[in-house]
């Protein structure tokens, strides 16, 4: 199948992939730090195993990104 992944054409030697499989194939190390958009809809991480990506789909990986602090400060830090 051919999909558009992060705006670029991508080809896979299979007819379908779950979101989980796609993340794994792209070697995304921390899937919990990625939001996945499929054809304009954000997919809940709980549904990654059940959501199937097919030919012509548009998929975007949107990464969580924090700010520019050197450290988290104060008494309530995690």
């Amino acid at each position: 199948m051919r999909i558009t992944l992060n705006g670029e054409p991508a080809e896979f030697p299979v007819e379908r992939l779950t979101v989980t499989e796609l993340l794994r194939s792209q070697k995304v190390e921390a899937p919990e730090m990625v939001s996945v958009q499929l054809n304009g809809t954000i997919i809940y991480s709980a549904k990654y195993n059940d959501t199937v990506i097919a030919d012509q789909d548009e998929v975007d990986f949107l990464y969580f990104m924090g700010g520019g602090a050197d450290r988290l400060t104060g008494g309530r830090q995690q």
Binding site: N6, G7, L62, F64, G66, G68, D70, G74, Q78
Partner: protein
């Protein structure tokens, strides 16, 4: 209509020359109120450019003090400011650039008890927070109060930003539902960040605030702009509001701000 002094006409002449800004746009900037959350890597360039632009009131909220390791990128602070509250050193730098700007410092943590009453005093908010609980808190407060804001994030050589018009464009929660698990989050202190990347991203956020106040151009809404400075590639990912967004969707489950974890306002 405001009377400009000769000095003001000179100071803001390069804005006034712009057809999209002009005297009217400069007046709107001078009547504008912007809150900068975090006086760190992102908040520093934002605060300096907003002051330089003559934005009427710039609020700055941060509970941190200046550390030597901040100075590689947090350009509102100097070596002499080490140990000082960041809001104070940022305010000094802003007033040095433009004494006309009213700088309001909020040396405190941002949390559920104060965030709504703070953001509602401003026309636009800059999220320059470094941690996800604060980012979600700012998003929810701005959505509930109807205050537009700019989200910004940086890590290593990369950055991302989007502008949110509450009820009109995709919000931060439309894209990122809830804070990631704390143990999964790499911070700049662990992962590092190229100093200039903070400037690249912060100045985009500042430009969005200035565009919002003047009404010039098209805001960065329904798009997540991200870049990788190593390859120096930029990408704009189209986004849309999500019907099932917990704060701006059809049946919102978030109708009040809560501290969804430890809340900080450092950046």
């Amino acid at each position: 209509m405001r009377e400009f002094t000769e000095e003001q006409l000179e100071r803001y002449s390069r804005h006034i020359l712009l057809a999209e800004v002009g005297v009217e746009g400069q007046e709107r900037l001078m009547d504008g109120r912007v809150l900068v959350v975090g006086a760190g890597g992102l908040g520093s360039p934002v605060a300096l450019y907003l002051a330089a632009a003559g934005v009427g009131v710039v609020g700055i909220v941060d509970n941190d003090t200046v550390d030597r390791s901040n100075l590689q990128r947090q350009i509102a602070h100097t070596t002499a400011d080490i140990g000082q509250p960041k809001v104070e050193s940022a305010a000094r730098a802003m007033r040095a650039i433009n004494p006309e700007v009213q700088v309001t410092t909020h040396h405190c943590f941002l949390d559920a008890s104060n965030v709504r009453q703070l953001v509602r005093q401003y026309d636009f908010v800059i999220d320059g927070a470094d941690n996800f609980p604060t980012k979600f808190l700012v998003n929810d407060a701005c959505l509930l109060e109807g205050v537009p804001f700019s989200h910004g994030g940086i890590l290593r050589f990369t950055g991302q930003t989007m502008t949110v018009l509450p009820g009109k464009s995709a919000c931060y929660r439309c894209v990122f539902r809830e804070p990631p698990p704390p143990d999964a989050v790499p911070s700049c202190s662990q992962a590092g960040v190229l100093g200039a990347v903070a400037g690249m991203l912060g100045t985009i956020q500042a430009a969005e605030a200035l565009k919002f106040l003047t009404g010039a151009g098209e805001l960065l809404t329904n798009r997540l702009l991200s870049f990788d400075a190593l390859a120096m590639r930029f990408r704009s990912t189209p986004l849309q509001r999500q019907d099932n967004c917990p704060v701006c969707g059809k049946e919102p489950s978030i109708t009040e701000v809560t501290d969804c974890g430890p809340i900080l306002c450092a950046a």
